[in-house]
């Protein structure tokens, strides 16, 4: 009898712990619902919209040493075609003999069309705290907005596009630095979160599509429009890696990998995020 009652008590205690844990789990699902509601409330009135007009003006106004506009920049669909172009990048460009993402192509056009020195074009691409959005951020906002609703279609036809994908895949899984992190540490499994932020699993098409479709984005935590190159840069910062070089082949390779994984998704950028 004594043994039995001790056992029963132990079971009761275990039951208590279980109840507490499940109450906490229920609370967590409420938390995620509320976070979803918060995100929903932000959807109307995305400050990224403030940048679109400025970006369009920068795109169309003759500037630089050659006093040329960017309108003749070929984003892959022919000179002057902006609509839908972002959704098909990165891709191989014969004139550059290189796979370029949008920001890389923008730098290329600033150099070749406007006569800007490359070193000047890639200097300070991201705005700091309290700073106005950079020209690259504004132009990117305008161009990506022109792909809203377009199908993501990052090509894998040219051997260099395939090589970019393969190198990007390698980098995605490459653990390094004092924390042993790789991109895949956070983005290689389903339904993972850091704190309350969902982490898209780039091994899964749907998650990859959703994530890729929403960059560039206005980040309310920073009060700034952030581009895909910034997204990659800040992931590596928190990965405790050295800093990726802006529009370097390695960053473009990684974006190619992510983009190909997201193929078939629908662009929904600029979005608004935490």
């Amino acid at each position: 009898m004594i043994h039995e009652s001790a056992g029963a008590r132990r079971r009761l205690l275990a039951g208590c712990v279980l109840t507490m844990v499940s109450a906490v789990v229920a609370a967590q699902s409420n938390t995620m619902d509320e976070i979803a509601r918060y995100r929903q409330m932000l959807q109307d009135g995305n400050p990224a919209e403030l940048l679109i007009a400025r970006g369009e003006e920068l795109w169309k106004t003759p500037r630089g040493p050659r006093n040329a506009s960017l309108e003749q920049c070929d984003l892959g669909l022919g000179p002057g075609v902006v609509k839908g172009a972002y959704a098909r990048l990165p891709r191989y460009f014969a004139d550059a003999d290189q796979v370029l993402d949008f920001e890389g192509r923008l730098v290329y056009c600033m150099v070749t069309l406007q006569g800007v020195r490359r070193g000047d074009a890639v200097k300070n691409p991201f705005s700091g705290a309290g700073q106005r959005a950079t020209d690259i951020e504004a132009i990117t906002t305008y161009v990506v907005d022109q792909s809203r609703g377009a199908r993501i279609d990052v090509p894998q036809e040219h051997p260099k596009e395939m090589a970019a994908f393969d190198r990007g895949r390698y980098l995605f899984y490459m653990r390094g630095g004092p924390y042993d992190f790789a991109c895949s540490t956070c983005h290689g499994a389903d339904n993972q979160r850091i704190r309350l932020q969902d982490l898209p699993n780039f091994e899964k098409t749907e998650a990859a599509q959703r994530a890729f479709a929403q960059w560039p984005a206005y980040r309310v935590s920073q009060g700034a429009l952030r581009t895909m190159q910034w997204r990659i840069n800040d992931c590596f910062r928190q990965q405790r890696f050295p800093e990726p070089v802006f529009v370097s082949q390695a960053t473009i390779d990684l974006i190619t990998f992510l983009g190909v994984r997201a193929n078939g998704g629908t662009m929904d950028s600029p979005s608004i995020k935490r």
Binding site: D44, G45, P47, E49, L50, A53, G130, R132, V220, G223
Partner: protein, 103 residues
């Protein structure tokens, strides 16, 4: 010169729905820069929305309004094609006025 606002004004059954986004830092005066110096407060202090020469909303803000402020409200008496004018003034004396046509 501050960047333009983005104003949407839509005639609905129960009035004109106005949504405004403004481009402004809204510095709190509490943030420190990279060198540890306080960045002085810089924020929109007053907003006025007019329609047909009449004020339909005015606001007084402090630095706790979010960066790149947003506001939304509804007024009666406007119709499609009318103009809505929004003016803001900040604590450093900068100002900006933009107009939108009611859709």
């Amino acid at each position: 010169m501050p960047d333009p606002m983005r104003i949407r004004a839509n005639a609905q059954q129960d009035g004109v729905d106005v949504r405004v986004l403004m481009s402004h830092e809204m510095e709190t005066g509490q943030r420190k820069d990279g060198n540890g110096n306080i960045v002085p407060a810089h924020f929109i202090s007053n907003v006025t929305v007019t329609h047909g020469g009449k004020t339909v909303l005015s606001a007084e803000w402090g630095p706790a309004v979010s960066k790149n402020p947003y506001m939304q409200f509804k007024f009666q008496g406007g119709k499609k094609g009318d103009e809505v004018t929004v003016t803001w003034v900040d604590n450093m004396g900068e100002t900006r006025t933009d107009k939108a046509t009611i859709a």
